[in-house]
Symmetry: C2
Amino acid sequence: MEILKQRILAEGRNLGRGILKVDSFINHQVDPVLMHACAKELARRFRPLRASRVLTAEISGIAPALLTALELGVPIVYARKSKPITMPASVFLTTAPSHTKGVDVNLMVSPEYLSAGERVLIIDDFLATGHTIMGLVRLAQAAGSTVVGIGAVIEKTFEGGRDALKSLGVPIESLAVIVDMKGGKIVFQK
Amino acid sequence: MEILKQRILAEGRNLGRGILKVDSFINHQVDPVLMHACAKELARRFRPLRASRVLTAEISGIAPALLTALELGVPIVYARKSKPITMPASVFLTTAPSHTKGVDVNLMVSPEYLSAGERVLIIDDFLATGHTIMGLVRLAQAAGSTVVGIGAVIEKTFEGGRDALKSLGVPIESLAVIVDMKGGKIVFQK
């Protein structure tokens, strides 16, 4: 997606060690118009899969997942990292190592909103190591639902997430694919 | 907003002690079509104020704030509760007691995305005690920006938030105003 790549080149900051700062339009401040354009493109690519739920992880997955779900006309469920008092006693829980925090985080979904028979589309801001997305896959599988596709706004191929998810045999789509960030560069896939 | 009130009556759960569970359409699962309708109504009410930023707090403020910002065509900034590695060393930080967690939480905004001269519209899912929203007001003031309005999807008048915010002298709008939750009831303002 050309407007996304241009924005990454204009405002993204390569902080080293594979960390891409996009806080000015995705992760802290969000440009809702750009995010909506991204969501429309994700919805276009995934519409034929007839997902019945979009699943993401709080926090920064919410914006792209919400807008993709709006375009598809289905509910979004976001996995919680800590348990609010409104959550039932028993939930689906998995843990995933956080790329940017250096610790394992909990991912929890209430069985009220993820159940057998659902066709789940997973959407997140980044596909990097794939650890968070693999955690969401485990939650969907624990619920007996079927993951039908995986979408991300930005992918960093050099962190191996796509390879880790390949065995699921579902379509994986990213809107901006970065193949190299060494030496301060940001190089997109041709 | 009638469709919102009907949805609260149909799916909201009064858990006692003033806690309203709306996890099936606002806080864990989100109905993006309903949320978009709410955002359009918030945008309609606040459009004359010419906000240049929408400010909210992660996590459950993101959905209504993002869609309101989309309607208004301005960026949204969400205050972070923990500091990701992409955030600069020095940030605006305040603390606010969490209604549903029973502890004080941090609210942080990078000075990169909130600065003097901004006209800030604060949007959150709930207006209850007003503690979180007051925290966002302090962040906006620390940045030298001007809070021009405060909007919530659901207000619980009996927790006093509107009174706490009144001295700011800005418009406060809520789409469903609950005046009583005693004895398992959910009573809306006439």
